[in-house]
Symmetry: D2
Subunit: 392 residues, 4 copies
């Protein structure tokens, strides 16, 4: 059965999700998609009324709706074993990730946290230390790593099917900035242009860390240094366009291109990886296929098709239904949750799983993402010099 | 909140889902995706052990797992108001749909039933009569009608944006038949080649009714007569390939093409609709976009992007997350459930919804699908003569 | 060298090409693309002024421009060996193909003729007889057979790489009819809605014969009978939409779908072929790739890439430049010419070529195309009965 | 008529084209495609036998085949007006471009030259001076500028339809390097890895100058400085992979990405241009369509469809046949020739054309391309510093 060794659903608390954004709904839906966990508590909003309303809408007992996340952590930590939440999901503006994650870990909970993990490296390092001390499960929702064909590609590369990786081009291109009316209070992204609440990197943090994480996750390349060029075309304070070029320890190059000012692009994350045996390309908006190319041979389209000969263990394990029945964003997000659940259960009851698995993005990835933002910005400000970039 | 007027989740019982197939998982996941309903009982298998195991795996109280669906209906009907299931989902081989649906209706339950609805017209007409008598909600899981861009297209056509519809080409093409090893017991489709358990039409029933229903759902065309040519290429008893040409009351033509013997095709349902103002095309494996064409103008790609100017009410209502974050099979399936939930709640507490809405496929669609199968087969056997095909 | 054994360019005369249409330019450009032939004479228009103007524009000596094609044939036939044209290309409305082709053959010329070959079967049979009697080269410009990946596919099928062919779906879909203003004199297609000048089948003749020919050319299937359903949606006299279903001798099915009333489609000829080992699909508007599918395996995209391992002799021979440097309509058209040139030269100087090669569409294909039109129309008029369809 | 004011075809001489490469065939075919010019002389090879053979194969009088290009220039220059060639096309390894172009200009001929124009800036500046002194027409075969949808896009941008251009991403990605067997004498690219014959930049010169030129041609942006990072993954001497980031005078960014080591890519030149009103994307391997996007609106696919409302003058003028009948590499190449012909004729007989038109790539583009190579290499060697890049 699901969570067979644990013999129950995991219990989830959510911080955030009561506002206009969609990310709360994504967390709630993804976390519960497979029936392995249940949302039982939440500090959905700092308004008690709205938090209770959200609880009702999300099917949560209003008695476990809170207006204060600090209060929630204290109250929930005090509950008996068979009620207490197992993990806290954090879906709030960037500057809140750190205090919430820190307190959640301190209160003994596992954590699922939105990215970027913190707004500076010092805070990120604090979280790394706390995770190491507590032994808690900490997962960062670089959700694109949950797509079956991404995990398939990662295992293919690890198995040397592409040969030595020489180059990666990861592009994350959106256009919603042009839909923001600067004379109006914004629904989306008010805090995203406020350095205090967002952190120093806007687009490089919002989408750039996803692209960089995906490149690292799939390719396994180890970074050495980064050169950045960020700019702003839409008149906002923070960056909305740019490039970060990463030189790796093996001299491979990763080019990360980010934009939120490319008219009409929705959520266009794509990646191309060049090995000396084969190359691949994948695109988030058509996530169910992966293109593999070898010079001199026909292109091969690997459909997400569990059980077919071209699928490997990672790819198969991330699928729910047969090929041609598309799986998409919620399902990929749910795969990140599900991988973290495996570790949470292992932590409680043990089992045959390797807890050092890196199948889901963890606190070290979080630290590396924050470093990536900081060094890219620093390089850009220093007229695009190369600056060191340490691997996690 | 979700189910605000009802103030609770709907309660679901599932018949089937304990076997090797994936459709039980699809029903369970889709039904609960938005937190509007909860699976609380099931006759998952005729083996009590397996039914209980499935209950555990699905997070259902094993006390409400049954080995006999008849027993489940009796027992659940006898429960008090605040426990009794609201609806029964039927996910079993075709020949069982009729007795299960009939008994469920008779026991006072709403019904969600797999397609085709029955194996013959007489049974289908019985169900129509029962639904009319009981006033129950009856939805047929022609799940492809739940895709946002399908509903968007349907409203566009109803609003005359394509002009008068002249022609439709609906193709449902798969290749899995070549993966079936005739010397081995089959995982998939054992009963699908047994006329007694499957009904008389195999591929025409399995995928053809989906394609025909989609054509009818989107275009609103009214059928007049059908000409069929079915055949078998893979050596099985029943049809695995063919065409059904439907002439409509306004002389429009719907061509339905079905195959389960086209090598390498997974679940390739596609549709093209020609109006005298514009044409459209849509493909299930890339469900988030719709192509609109007008002679003399650029092609327009309508992305699923809720809130954008090109989206209409039906399209918007069927979306959960912003454009570029793909939604797929589970979400579309969940939309059929969700539309049926609206009617179930209306039935209990009333509200401002029109219960005659046809946003989800209903018992009349079920009847028409069975007629479509029967007349296509009859035409094909009679050397492809035109036979009458009544609208629902 | 080009035409090495002949040691000179072939000499071409063109009938038609002086009007508003583009087909004259296509013939001229394609015929001369590789430097194997030279346009030296033409009856470009029935107006002497316009014929001379066209000659000048086409780089032809105005002394060899004619207003009468009959006069041209007589005059050119009387020229000495080192001046006389080798072949006559016919690019005129359908009803003129027969008298022009007949007279050209009678005058001793090889012929390249637009399709459909004639407006009735009797005329087509007359041409077959004349070609057999004269031994002339007669090629029909079913130009889509000239695409490298079409010829590649044909050889693959002949070599049994797809197994036994079970089904073909050939679609030729256009939308230009909606751009025709019925209140204005038309640039395109005036004669195409005039049964006397066009022949009895409009869209079925204009594009349907291409689709049918392509299906036959690629698959090698032999027809047994045809069932047609043609209709008219745009208010014109002749058909503008319909289907022709062909049952083959081996019980394979070919479905030909034609439309000139599908808004926004330009020249959308596509074909899917199902064998019992593999399936393929190809589309004229993206002619440089061919998709090969096998159940259980990744899709393979065969790029037009001469010399690569997946290319066969027919594919390679039809390419001029490396993969990724797209070849298109003119080049495919030129390949039909070039194959006919091979036979013309063989006829003069012999060589190691098999003159019975069917690499280019010939007079028997022309006859079969006319039969296809006639029987499809007859079937449609007889309420879609099956009628015999003889192979060439 | 074609060349109406001149009243004859232009006469062409070709240097190169007798070897194993395909570029000689491309020049010959493209130059003569529309019947505006005729190849009448050539120094096809330094072997007299091979030069004569090539002449025969190309339909050229063997008496005008030369083994020495110097001799050809002298001999042809001495011919009378009605015989003398009008222009010389240079299709040879890079290091020969300069002496051949210089001598051709000195001998009074117009020149069509392959790119890069020279192997260093000093030589490029010499050619600029010579072109200015002689008034000759000098065109560089950046052939991708000849595609109809590229010219369409250029005019759209010039007409401010995309608003101010902020960013360009131009990628030219190939994989043929992996097909080169280093132990064997190479068919392709022997001289391409020899700095003396190729010049200092390999991939950056071979494909990078095309990508950069295309970005400049379409966007009209003016460069200010460049930062380069080139590397080698395949073991050869010269670069095979890298990036050049160009900052423009208006602070727009052009990112040029080049690779000849991406497995399986054929000739994958693509470009994305971001304006503050709209964005566009185009890809050379599917050249007949252009995608236009605006945030909040459906994507629009602009098909190459001469005469349709979305097409502008530049787009229409570059088309030969209706939409849906694909035009490709040869036709685009021929458009560069044809634009140069317009200027050659204007030079002889005048007319209403503006001779300062930049519709075809000219000697200033050639100079800029050489500067681009040099500064990108210099930047890369200096650890990726910004270096000035002057506009033409």
């Amino acid at each position: 059965m699901l969570n067979a060794s644990l013999n129950r659903k995991l219990r989830m608390a959510l911080i955030g999700g009561g506002g206009a954004g969609f990310i709360g709904k994504v967390h709630r839906t993804a976390a519960q998609l497979d029936g392995r966990a249940e949302l039982v508590a939440g500090a959905f909003s700092s308004s008690m009324d709205r938090s209770r309303e959200t609880a009702l809408a999300f099917g949560v007992d209003p008695a476990r709706a809170y207006a204060s996340w600090e209060e929630m952590l204290v109250t929930e930590a005090a509950r008996p074993d068979d009620e207490r939440v197992d993990f806290v999901s954090i879906a709030t503006p960037n500057f809140l990730h750190f205090p919430m994650a820190k307190a959640s870990l301190a209160a003994g909970f596992n954590v699922l946290c939105d990215k970027p993990m913190t707004t500076n490296t010092a805070d990120a390092e604090t979280l790394v230390r706390l995770v190491e001390e507590t032994g808690a499960v900490f997962a960062l929702t670089h959700n694109y790593t949950g797509y079956p064909m991404v995990r398939q590609a990662r295992e293919m590369i690890a198995a040397d099917e592409l040969g030595e990786i020489r180059a990666v081009r990861a592009n994350y291109v959106q256009g919603w900035m042009w839909a923001v009316d600067p004379t109006q209070p914004a629904e989306r992204g008010t805090w995203k242009d406020d350095p205090r609440r967002n952190g120093p990197g806007a687009t490089i943090g919002d989408v750039g860390t996803h692209a960089y994480n995906l490149a690292r996750y799939m390719s396994g390349l180890q970074p050495a240094e980064v050169l950045g060029k960020l700019t702003t075309f839409s008149g906002r304070q923070l960056d909305d366009y740019g490039h970060a070029l990463v030189r790796c320890l093996n001299d491979a190059l990763i080019m990360v291109t980010v934009s939120q000012v490319t008219h009409g692009r929705l959520n266009d994350l794509s990646i191309e990886i060049d090995g000396d045996k084969a190359s691949l390309s994948w695109r988030q908006e058509e996530p169910d296929s992966l293109t593999i190319r070898q010079t001199g041979q026909p292109q091969r389209i690997y459909d997400r098709a569990p059980g077919q000969a071209h699928m490997n263990d990672s790819g198969n394990a991330a699928c729910r239904i047969p090929g041609g029945h598309p799986e998409a964003f919620f399902e990929a997000f749910a795969n990140v949750y599900s991988s973290a659940y495996d570790d949470m259960i292992w932590r409680v009851v043990g089992g045959d799983r390797d807890p050092r698995s890196t199948i889901y993005p963890n606190v070290y990835d979080g630290l590396e993402g924050v470093r990536f933002i900081e060094q890219t910005i620093a390089s850009s400000k220093a007229n695009s010099v190369w600056l060191p970039l340490a691997a996690r």
